[in-house]
Amino acid sequence: MVRRDEFVLNVELSAEPGEVIVLLGPNGAGKSTLLEVLAGVLRPDTGRISVAGVLLDDTARRLHVDKARRRVGFVVQDYLLFPHMNVVENVAFGLRARGMRREHAQSHAIAWLERMGLEGFERRKPRELSGGQAQRVALARSLIVDPRLLLLDEPLAALDAGSRPKVRAELRRHLESYPGCTIVVTHDPIEAMLLATRVVVLESGEIVQDGTPSELARHPRTEYVARLVGLNLLRGTASGTVVEVGPHAVVAVAREVSGAVYVAFPPHAVTISTDRPVGSARNVWPGRVTDVEAHGDLVRLTIDGTVPMLADVTPVAVADLGLGPGSDVWASVKASEVTVYPA
């Protein structure tokens, strides 16, 4: 646990070797702070950190392994290559710091650069590299010392959108061949889905969700995650096939459940009409449009009412119904479109 003024980071997390954990969360959730604590740059106020069977921090026993002796690889957003050293010297730095002779360290470094597909860049200075190349050099520099744990803070944020997919694919390949556990911080859901074997969502210093990427995408547990994966999320109490999500607001679901549950449905499952519909849909709620914006080739409506939600409708529907901010509408969703899972 780390306290810093008003902010408290309180996290309990254990990971298996070979796992790629993506830490996802809004700005200020404590993702980077968690990495700094793991890297030993910050000391926890209370708690224990052990990596690969080695205790690195234990406040109860006043134990703190210095950042230089933790063997925790830490690659940050702007990579922090040493600007006055060339690529080989950068990669060999960790080995040199451990007392390895220069020629030896450099031949190791050259082997790592080959592995990273960076032959021919040995004598370049960091400023002569593209973002993707710099990232691979930073990765090689961290991996060459055989870290017990690898930390990546926003590894793709410094890249331009054009080169991101390619670098992301390369990064994924390199992480797959790394035997230890990797923790990646990001706030990009696509990055999380593609890199992670497990996603941990952090909000205001607490873990709010922990699971595989597909679990996360299907069963979000917070508003933040629901927005990221594009779902409307409600929480309520179920009995039978009805979930009470608020005063005078119920959602009908397709299977029988009971107790506290989450209810999720995608915005495109919402049908909008200006008159109360008389179809088969059992979920019909009145509401008022508060915002209208383009969303891909659809139009996304923000609807306020007994059940607030986002609804994606076609531009034709918007025109035919004459929708705009302030329009009173009826929103309906088929029970079969609603996912329900225990809270």
Binding site: A39, G40, V41, K67, A68, R69, R70, R71, V72, G73, F74, V76, L80, F82, P83, H84, F93, G94, A97, R98, G120, K125, R127, E128, L129, S130, G132, Q133, R141, S142, V145, S163
Partner: protein
């Protein structure tokens, strides 16, 4: 409207040029006299020289007094730079990064040599050094000059330390480097250009300082400026012009050398990312 504005702006830019050229001429004028006079063949400071000769350069190089004082100035300058640069750099690191009480006080104290009148400083130093029997010592003078150079070093290095990205040090630590190794291999190399500039400042500061030197250098420890000064009090000879010309040449080559180094290092980094992506 627009036309008159353009005319007036052209007029003011012409005025600017005239003033600028005037200032430069004023600054260069003494040089244009001194340099020809040094190649004079007569015993007098005659301008233009009636005949050309290198005799005053020979006089300078042959007389033991002149070369000895030149050497002494160089040694004192090097020592002063060698003392002021590391001390000022460490002070800058402490002032920029440290968090402690009285920081502002220490910063002001380090800037004092800029504001204390040199003559006051000289009298004080004279009293202290004569008690310590250090009048005429190269070290004593170097130490005094280092004090004068210190504010410049602290100012230049504070800026450099502020611009230095501390997370680079953090990166080195997490790669397993000790604090000491990180300091020598990451911090110092990044500060190198500022270190060179600071050392040059401190050296030049000492090299042409005369007030303190007059007091502290004693009879046998004359630096070049002191020797020129005392020489001028007894006689006027073109050898002074020769000395001045040599000094001018030395300083110019020092500054040109720095400029060249900068251009070369800029060119080395010019072939940027050719096989990009």
């Amino acid at each position: 409207m627009r036309a008159t504005k353009r005319v007036s702006s052209r007029r003011s830019s012409i005025l600017l040029w005239i003033v600028a050229i005037g200032v430069v001429l004023f600054l260069i004028a003494p040089v244009t006299i001194v340099v020809p006079v040094s190649f004079n063949s007569t015993r007098f400071l005659e301008f233009p020289p009636p005949e050309w000769s290198l005799r005053w350069y020979r006089e300078f190089l042959d007389s033991g007094g002149w070369t000895a004082s030149l050497w002494r100035s160089l040694i004192v300058g090097f020592l002063a730079a060698a003392i002021a640069t590391p001390v000022g750099t460490l002070a800058a690191l402490g002032l920029v990064r440290g968090r402690f009480r009285g920081k502002q006080l220490i910063r002001s104290a380090l800037m004092l040599p800029l504001t204390v009148p040199l003559i006051v400083l000289s009298i004080g130093l004279y009293a202290v050094y004569s008690d310590l029997r250090m009048i005429g010592s190269v070290w004593a003078l170097a130490l005094a000059h280092a004090t004068l150079g210190l504010p410049f070093v602290v100012l230049v290095m504070s800026g450099a330390v502020q611009n230095f990205d501390e997370t680079l040090e953090r990166a080195a630590w997490t790669l397993g480097a000790s604090k000491l190794r990180t300091f020598w291999q990451i911090t110092i190399p990044s500060l190198r250009p500022a270190l060179a500039a600071s050392a040059l400042f401190a050296f030049i500061m000492s090299f042409d300082e005369i007030v303190i030197a007059v007091f502290v250098s004693g009879v046998h420890g004359e630096t070049l400026p002191v020797r020129i000064f005392s020489f001028l009090q007894t006689e006027i000879s073109p050898v002074i012009a020769a000395v001045s010309t040599l000094l001018l040449l030395a300083l110019l080559s020092l500054l040109l050398g720095r400029g060249m180094a900068r251009v070369l290092s800029a060119r080395r980094s010019a072939p940027r990312a050719t096989a990009d992506r």
